[in-house]
């Protein structure tokens, strides 16, 4: 008897919803949306009125100019090469940067602090910024693109992987230390093997991002297919633009499929 009463009194009541918070948050979002739409002159009505213009563009862009394809092969290959170089160099440089930024592995607070902030700066600045910077430094072309993607790759991998490294089990690294191993031996035999599948996975992911990004980088003169896209667009060769967009789409999809299937097997 008394047990039943006990159960009834200890079962907690469902807490009341905080309506003030819910309505307040919805109001905030609505207000910010309205303010932003006014600011940039975004209007549904105006969009609807401009639809015929958009239709004309689509009609002019179709069908794609297939005869242009042979001249795309070179730049497409260059795009791929820019992505490969950026991924490989960036992937290698990301290793020490990620290790030093992992709280459980870093040799000291100062190193950790400097490295963390360095990583944050790399990540905060967009890839287009790096492309323009390197274009100014080494001249317009694919080398500037590869350098920009190197920085971009470091930013992506080091952030993600340092978090994987922080999640490893420190028992084995301690055992390597107990056998007289140095900091490097502890990393090589105790820490890194645990997070190696993550590293491969993030590197493949960075490669996917890089193939996509190397198209945009061409727009600011950093080589590859993007540069062809920019010249064709500025001379209103829309059927050619369509072909370029389609080929990039296919290339990116193929690479994503391959990388996705490898990554699924890893983790």
């Amino acid at each position: 008897m008394s047990e039943a009463i006990d159960a009834a009194t200890t079962r907690p009541l469902r807490p009341a919803r905080n309506w003030v918070l819910i309505i307040g948050a919805l109001g905030m979002v609505s207000l910010m949306t309205w303010w932003s739409a006014r600011g940039i002159g975004f209007s549904i009505i105006e969009l609807a009125c401009n639809l015929p213009g958009g239709r004309r563009l689509l009609v002019e862009s179709w069908p794609p100019d297939w005869s242009f394809f042979p001249r795309l092969l070179g730049p497409l290959l260059e795009t791929l090469q820019i992505a490969v170089i950026g991924t490989v160099i960036g992937g290698i440089l990301a290793i020490p940067i990620a290790v030093l930024a992992a709280r459980n592995l870093t040799p000291g607070f100062l190193v950790w602090f400097v490295d963390r902030n360095f990583m944050n700066i790399l990540r905060t600045l967009p890839d287009l910024f790096w492309a323009m910077l390197f274009a100014a430094a080494v001249g317009f072309g694919p080398v500037a693109g590869a350098l920009a993607l190197t920085v971009f790759t470091i930013a992506v991998i080091s952030k993600l992987w340092s978090e994987s490294l922080e999640a490893i089990d420190m028992a084995v690294p301690e055992a390597v230390r107990a056998a007289g191993g140095s900091w490097l031996a502890m990393l090589q035999f105790g820490a890194i093997p645990q997070a190696l599948p993550h590293y491969v996975s993030y590197t493949l992911y960075a490669f996917e991002l890089n193939v996509r990004a190397s198209m945009i980088l061409g727009l600011v003169g950093a080589g590859g297919i993007g540069m062809v896209l920019e010249t064709q667009r500025s001379t209103f060769e829309y059927p050619r633009v369509t072909l370029i967009v389609l080929s990039v789409l296919v290339l990116v999809l193929i690479i994503e499929q391959i990388s996705e299937s490898i990554r699924r097997r890893l983790i």
Binding site: V172, A175, A178, G180, G181, S182, A185, Q194, L196
Partner: protein, 263 residues
């Protein structure tokens, strides 16, 4: 005998940063070649005692000398040199499951070869030979190229023992090496440790929870309670009363491995 294998505690104490007492005022001398079993209930300080010998847990009080050399309080070359001669075996094996058995055993050689050789997997033939010998000694040389994670629990612990042996150590510290194993494997591993101690004369300190194992395999038994040394004597002379004192209560069925030996 090799005096590198002597361990001497003088007023050794450990207070953890959170205020917990790990060890208090331990005076103890372990002679070269001895096989010592440390018993005590959970939290008695057994792990702390072992880990202070190779500096994984630094002392906050007193000193420990290994082969006459005080154990350094800070990480560095000195401490690495000391650790190179002290093998450690853990309850949870602590081998890298993703790497081969051979690579795991070669980790026992890292302190003996130049860093770049370990880094690029260019181990000298002599060191590979030592690793193979260590695997043969624990009877799993046929598994040398298998992924360590694919082995059974008992075999994984043998990899742990082989890694310690590959160090060619003067001392082996084993922290509850059989606590994750079934009774049959437990006896096999304990016999391995005794045999290695007899054949190679390596000073061996083993933490155990089970009383019957301590009595059967230990030469000398050390009892800890609340971080303090409360018993030190031969395995033959230890009484039920002594165990009661070490555990602070009557030993029960949970403190023995084989029920038929409980009485």
């Amino acid at each position: 005998m090799n005096d590198k294998a002597a361990i001497r505690f003088k007023g050794a104490g450990v207070v953890y940063p959170n205020g917990a007492v790990g060890l208090a005022g331990i005076d103890l001398e372990i002679k070269p070649g001895e096989f010592v079993v440390v018993v005590g209930s959970s939290g008695a300080g057994k792990s702390t005692l072992l880990r202070s010998v190779n500096g994984l847990t630094p002392l906050t009080d007193g000193t420990i000398t290994v082969g006459g050399q005080p154990v350094p309080k800070k990480e560095g070359r000195e401490l690495r040199r000391l650790r190179a001669g002290v093998g450690m075996i853990f309850q949870d094996f602590r081998i890298t499951r993703r790497l081969t058995v051979m690579t795991n055993v070669l980790v026992g050689r890292v302190a003996h070869v130049p860093g770049w050789r370990a880094m690029f997997n260019l181990w000298p033939a002599a060191d590979r030979e030592i690793a193979f010998k260590a695997l043969e000694r624990v009877g799993i040389a046929d598994k040398a190229w298998v992924r360590a994670g694919d082995l059974s629990g008992g075999q994984q612990q043998r990899v742990g023992i082989a890694r310690a042996l590959a160090q060619e150590p003067a001392i082996i510290l084993a922290d509850e090496p059989v606590a994750s194993l079934d009774p049959v494997t437990t006896h096999q591993i304990m016999r391995d440790l005794v045999r290695i101690n007899e054949e190679l004369g390596i000073t061996t300190v083993v933490n155990l929870h089970f009383l019957d194992l301590a009595r059967r395999y230990g030469q000398r038994i050390i009892g800890l309670r609340g971080g303090e040394l409360v018993y030190d004597g031969t395995a033959n002379s230890v009484t039920q009363e002594d165990f009661k004192n070490i555990y602070g209560r009557d030993p029960d069925a949970g403190d023995v491995l084989d029920e038929r030996e409980a009485s």
